[in-house]
Amino acid sequence: MNKKVSTKVIVNKAWCKGCGICVAFCPTNVLEIKDGKVEIVNPEACTRCGLCELRCPDFAIYLGGEEDEK
């Protein structure tokens, strides 16, 4: 019972077109555009609010997966 399901922000660089919408409107400055693609630069600050996923026109950033919290 030591495994807790959680979510983390995931980037699909292949689909990212580098528009910067997720970066500009992230409330905690988790993201940056580097070489034309989004990158997670400050993961600790992420509150998993999901605004990046909601607004991303290209489905290239989303909350998903499981985090092991042993």
Partner: protein
């Protein structure tokens, strides 16, 4: 690699989509999918119909019964589908030019009939697919390739047209206010009748660049800044609403639905025959 939502509702082999960087049609398309997901519709029972233009490409990506029709005619095709099989949830995805210029007549008559179809108008204020010509919603004085000296045309207010023509649920949202847009689409789908949700969208490539509004982020900020909630707008004088985007629920009423009325007619004839 994509979210569970995307994997469930999209044709993964067709992604990524063809829309330009910063075009918010993808955001609006996903708002439609999130609304469908929220309502738990069976994909086999949903039919999505589009016309021609940037918006119309949505149907190719969405894993439902999808029909990509001719310019402006999506609603007429959708009307035939809904009449033939009223059990289908019929959704039309259209654009500002598609719905209100070439398809304007079909649009107002679908509103008038109050047939149970939910229409989402991706309004990016321009003809994008053909390279940036002015549409019925391009703001007056804006530039387009066919308005090189500034557009002299007055604009259509899509929601007001829909409400006046008889649509029973009418709302406006923007790609910036995504959650509110999703909620409006949910309400539109729940409405037993003709629903219109105008999704104000950004076209950085043709509208933004030519009109020197800036890039995708600047255009998105502008959506945020120009938007006024319908409740707040009611308290403001008209001059304060000049150039603003009024968002929220514009109309929500109940009126007999078209396919129900036709079924009543069939039942009545059957009864009389007895």
């Amino acid at each position: 690699m994509a979210s569970n939502l995307v994997e469930k509702y999209y044709r993964m082999d067709k992604l990524p989509h063809i829309w330009c960087a910063g075009c918010t049609h993808g955001t609006s398309m996903n708002a439609v999918v999130r609304a469908i997901d929220k309502l738990g519709y069976n994909q086999d029972e949903v039919c999505i119909v589009s016309g021609i233009g940037c918006s119309s490409r949505a149907t190719g990506y969405m894993d439902f019964n999808t029909l990509h029709t001719t310019h402006g005619r999506a609603l007429a095709f959708a009307t035939g589908i809904k009449m033939a099989n009223p059990k289908l949830k019929v959704i039309v995805i259209t654009g500002d030019g598609d719905a209100t210029a070439i398809g304007g007549n079909h649009f107002i008559h679908a509103c008038r009939r109050n047939i149970d179809i939910t229409t989402i108008v991706f309004n990016n204020n321009i003809y994008g697919m053909t390279g940036g010509q002015y549409s019925p919603t391009t703001p007056t004085s804006s530039l387009g390739t066919t308005a090189p000296y500034g557009n002299i045309d007055p604009v259509f207010n899509i929601c007001n047209v829909a409400a006046a023509a008889g649509a029973t649920y009418v709302a406006r949202g923007t790609a910036y206010h995504t959650q509110a847009l999703i909620n409006s689409i949910v309400k539109g789908l729940e409405n037993k009748g003709f629903s219109v949700i105008e999704a104000v969208s950004d076209c950085p490539t043709y509208f933004g660049r030519r009109n020197k509004i800036g890039d995708a982020v600047e255009m998105m900020k502008r959506l945020k800044e120009l938007s006024v909630n319908v409740k707040a707008a009611e308290k403001l004088p008209p001059e304060k609403l000049e150039g603003k985007i009024i968002i929220g629920e514009i109309k929500n009423e109940t009126r007999p639905e078209y396919t129900d009325e036709y079924q009543n007619l069939i039942d009545r004839l059957k009864e009389e025959e007895k």
